[in-house]
């Protein structure tokens, strides 16, 4: 095969030829509907009978899960909240210390004041119930992958799919298998929460120092003793980190699967508030989730940290714990009906938030409308339908003359020609950008996109990635999802570029300025833990239904990784190297551009990778504000109870995320 550069140049010429030919061959621009295969139908005819067979065991499992779940829920509901809150504070004290205990008090007071205590407890019940199976399954899978390294790659790939497959895509199979009620949510929570446990188990076991293992072997350990008495205890803190991440993953999934209903949990609150576009209610229930996430995270992390010193000894803890439980039980027996919960406080607060938002929308409406229209005309439209599509009298107010096209071509070709000598990679990139801007991302001839994706996959991932990419593209093309796919690609690409630019700049600022860092950190935390539905409401009110709002919604979530990773990468450049550069007389900006940024490159690259994953994972949620992408297909499938279409679209999204991850990994 020719040199990589030459290969890409050939590919460019191929694409150029396709673009030039597409006015005459319409099947090049859009994949013809007649060529698709009824993948979804095939899936339906084959999968439905399978699900019918599995339904029996599935329902039995659901019934088995239902009872303890209801028991736990009833117990949490029955105990007066001050007793439970006291126990949480105790746990915080024991896990970490006074600081966390104060956080626990404030957070729980907030939950009670907002009026969401029962819902929070119902959510907690599902999360707690999902924990033991997720941890056990995850540990067993991780241990198996550790024991038989041969199965590890397959395990990791399966885990990636489990984590990237949008929950809405498997809602229908879940409902078929487990029926209506909390069981499907529980199962989805387990499915989603298993991967982090597996990963941490593999990591923890692999990280046990070789000498510890050898020492145990030399003490005459049998393989069972080696595993249970040496490896597992030595990997304890990593395993506990796994438990922590399992809790968090389960929580985030339980929130989403609440869409099924049946348990009156906090996720349900967020979703039904979203339905009514009630920002106040949705923001408050979102904050409840943030509070729960923080508490669950810090408490489990506290128990996981290896050098934990506690101010509350085992014995005192037990006594206090028992005291709270007894006090709670006694109170409840004496006063069986009193809830001790405030009634209207939260509702009033929510209403005033709504009113404030409306005032804000009215006051800033013209400004945001101008912003939206400017970006729409100037950036999104040309990206989507290309200069050739946008330069029309109705959009930009003029018609494209042949000389304009010629000038455009000359500018890009000339730029590429000049750069060719010094940085040929950049030159080729410019050529591709020029071509894509001319046709628009969604109207780029599909054989060109397929060829580019396959060449890139082969070049960076070898046969395996090539096979995976072919599979994903086949699913998309023949599943009739090409148009939805180009929409997704366009939205994702735009969101990622903007996030990297804006988030990167903010991360840079945060790395250089402690105050900026302190301000950005809690914002990042909230953006990441707050259910995304909450942000949709203000975005919709300011920007209306449409792509732009979807873009904003995606960006609000995907902007966190670039901020985090850029700051982290820059701040963790070895101080010795920084000192050396300062010693050599580097100015602050030289230090940044020539020393820190190049050194932080691997971390920043990881951040970009995470940005793409985050953007793709938001496609489904963004569909709630009206898009035409793969995420929307998932919802359409949900409405039609079309299991096949849902799975095809869901897997297309999952595979896209996987491929993007693998392409950028090395």
């Amino acid at each position: 095969m020719a040199s990589p550069l030459f290969r890409w140049l050939l590919l460019f010429l191929f694409c150029l030829a396709l673009v030039l030919a597409s006015p005459f061959l319409p099947w090049l621009a859009a994949f013809p509907q007649g060529w698709t295969l009824p993948l979804a139908d095939v899936l339906n005819t084959w999968a439905l009978p399978v699900f019918d067979i599995l339904q029996g065991p599935g329902r039995a499992l659901a019934a088995g899960l239902d009872l303890p779940l209801r028991g736990l829920r009833a117990a949490l509901e029955w105990l007066p909240w001050p007793a439970l809150a006291g126990i949480v504070v105790l746990l915080a004290l024991r896990a970490s210390g006074w600081q966390l205990a104060v956080v626990a008090i404030i957070a729980q007071a907030g939950i009670v004041a907002g009026g969401y205590w029962p819902q929070a407890m119902n959510t907690l019940a599902i999360v707690l119930m999902s924990l033991p199976p997720a941890v056990l399954i995850g540990f067993a899978l991780g241990a198996a992958a550790h024991r038989w390294p041969r199965i590890e790659p397959a395990t990791v790939a399966a885990l990636d799919v489990m984590q990237t497959l949008p929950a809405f895509a498997y809602l229908i199979p879940l409902l078929i298998l487990f029926g209506f009620g909390p069981a499907p949510g529980l199962v989805a929570g387990v499915v989603f929460a298993v991967p982090p446990m597996v990963r941490n188990t593999i990591l923890g076991l692999a990280r046990v120092p070789a000498e510890v293992v050898e020492a145990a072997q030399m003490c005459g350990a049998t393989s069972g003793q080696l595993f249970w008495l040496a490896k597992v205890p030595a990997a304890r803190s990593q395993l506990l980190v796994g438990v922590n991440q399992t809790v968090m993953a389960s929580l985030s999934m339980v929130i989403i699967v609440a869409v099924i209903g049946g348990f009156n949990d906090i996720g349900w609150e967020v979703l039904s508030a979203m339905r009514g576009a009630e920002l106040g209610r949705s923001l408050m229930s979102g904050l409840v989730i943030v509070a729960m996430a923080i508490l669950l995270d810090r408490i489990t992390l506290g128990f996981a940290s290896p050098g934990r010193t506690t101010i509350l000894g085992q014995k005192k803890f037990r006594i206090a714990f028992g005291a709270f439980v007894i006090a709670g039980v006694v109170t409840r027996l004496i006063l069986p009906e009193v809830t001790f919960l405030p009634d209207a406080l939260g509702r009033n607060l929510a209403r005033s938030i709504d009113a404030t938002l409306m005032d804000f929308v009215v006051a800033t409406g013209p400004f945001f409308a101008a912003l939206r229209d400017g970006l729409n005309y100037g950036l999104m439209l040309p990206l989507r339908i290309g200069l050739l599509g946008a330069a029309t009298p109705t959009v930009w107010g003029f018609t494209l003359m042949p000389w304009m096209i010629a000038a455009y071509a000359i500018v890009f070709a000339g730029g590429a020609f000049i750069l060719w000598r010094r940085t040929p990679t950049l030159a080729i990139a410019i050529l591709f950008v020029g071509l894509a801007l001319a046709t628009g991302i969604t109207r780029f001839p599909w054989p060109g996109v397929v060829a580019m994706a396959l060449v890139a996959a082969w070049a960076s991932g070898g046969p395996r990635l090539f096979a995976m990419t072919s599979g994903a593209l086949g699913l998309i093309i023949f599943g009739g999802l090409w148009a939805a796919f180009t929409q997704s690609a366009y939205l994702t690409a735009l969101a990622v570029v903007l996030c990297v630019l804006i988030g990167g700049a903010l991360g840079l600022l945060a790395a250089e300025n402690d105050r900026a860092s302190a301000i950005l950190r809690p914002i990042n935390d909230a953006l990441q833990t707050m259910p995304q539905f909450v942000f949709l409401i203000p975005a919709l009110m300011l920007f209306r239904v449409g792509e732009f709002t979807a873009l904003i919604a995606i960006m609000l979530y995907a902007i966190v990784p670039p901020m985090r990773y850029v700051e982290h990468g820059l701040r963790n450049v070895s101080p010795a190297l920084v000192e050396a550069a300062v010693q050599m007389g580097a100015t602050r900006s030289q230090l940044l551009w020539q020393v820190k940024l190049p050194l932080a490159r691997p971390v920043i690259r990881l951040g970009i990778n995470q940005t793409i994953m985050a953007a793709i994972s938001m496609l489904v949620i963004a569909a709630l504000v009206g898009t035409r992408d793969l995420g929307q297909q998932v919802f359409i499938a949900l409405g039609k109870a079309d299991l096949g279409l849902g799975l095809v679209a869901g897997f297309a999204i999952a595979l896209l995320a996987l491929i993007a991850d693998r392409l950028l990994r090395d």
Binding site: A277, D373, T394, L624, R628, A641
Partner: protein, 315 residues
């Protein structure tokens, strides 16, 4: 707000009672059935439904049943109703049930026990600012004027005007009607009910033009003033290409009739008055009263309405 008073509430109530009496006549008094087992009532995402459900539940309790209210998603509820995890859902709007409902109905696992009796309406609505930009509204011809189209146009839809449609998974009746009448509008699917409500609220507050498809009664119409377009002609027989007022029905698990015969009868007779429901919605979402309190109050004040349902069905 004018709609609320358009039909005096007393008249409404009288009418409702009349319907109740009429519908009570043919139903047979029956056994309670498995009264010690709890009846699971679906509570969907919106306030109106919650009020209807709470009231229906209270009536069943008066008849001697145990009732539990279970939150349920609009699509997933049919899965629950099919296998008896949910027993009844008393307010289902038939224009956004996707293909899930017909499939479930076909399977014979659920049963439609008739209308809830709400006075429903579906069609195209517009904000006040739209009326200024398109003089001649509510006549649909006003929407054809270039100035009106331009006022509603956005970058996504140029050169057409923008029409905010139902989410893609609720079907495309409006889009078809626009096409059938050669109207220069592009239908933008909203993605979710929340998106429609959010945009409507924002457009009303910001006084911007907006044309969209919608239905009533809906709680947001209690806050927002809108006009209804006099719809262009369509073939009433072709439900894919024509908008007619959507049925609002009650659906129960198919086993209900045998397990709780009296409850089945009560729910079949159960009707809800549109104006009363609107006022209760307002009380909950604007005055901050709790759902339970509102429902209790209705039960206390309307014994004349619900007592006949109970008496006619319980032996």
């Amino acid at each position: 707000m004018t709609r609320l008073t358009s039909l005096p509430t007393t008249t409404g109530r009288a009418l409702l009672a009349g319907i109740a009496v009429l519908s009570a006549l043919p139903s047979q008094a029956a056994e309670l059935g498995a009264a010690d087992e709890t009846i699971q009532m679906a509570m969907l995402e919106w306030t109106g439904n919650n009020i209807s459900t709470q009231i229906a539940g209270r009536i069943l309790e008066k008849a001697g049943y145990k009732v539990e209210y279970v939150t349920a998603g609009n699509f997933p509820q049919f899965s629950g109703l099919s296998d008896g995890t949910l027993d009844a859902s008393v307010e289902i709007w038939m224009m956004n049930v996707g293909d899930v409902y017909p499939k479930a109905l076909e399977s014979g696992l659920i049963e439609n026990i008739g209308t809830l009796g709400l006075r429903s309406r579906e069609g195209w609505i517009y904000t006040k600012a739209t009326a200024e930009a398109c003089p001649g509204l509510p006549d649909w011809h006003a929407l054809m004027e270039p100035a009106c189209v331009a006022a509603l146009a956005t970058p996504d839809t140029l050169p057409n005007g923008r029409f905010l449609d139902y989410p893609a998974d609720w079907g495309a009746r409006s889009a078809n009607m626009l096409a059938d009448n050669a109207m220069p509008y592009t239908a933008i699917p909203a993605g979710s009910e929340g998106a429609m409500v959010a945009e409507l609220r924002a457009a009303a507050a910001g006084n911007t033009p907006l044309l969209m498809t919608f239905w009533e009664p809906h709680f947001v119409l209690a806050d927002v003033e809108v006009g209804w377009v006099d719809m262009p002609p369509c073939d009433q027989a072709n439900l894919e290409r024509c908008i007619v007022p959507p049925p609002v029905d009650k659906v129960v698990w198919a086993g209900m009739k045998d397990k709780w015969p009296a409850a089945y009868g009560i729910l079949t007779d159960f009707r809800m008055d549109t104006d009363q429901q609107q006022q209760m919605m307002l009380a909950v979402s604007e005055k901050g009263e709790s759902l339970q309190a509102v429902a209790d109050k209705w039960i206390a004040e309307n014994e004349a309405v619900w007592r006949p349902w109970v008496d006619a069905n319980v032996k």
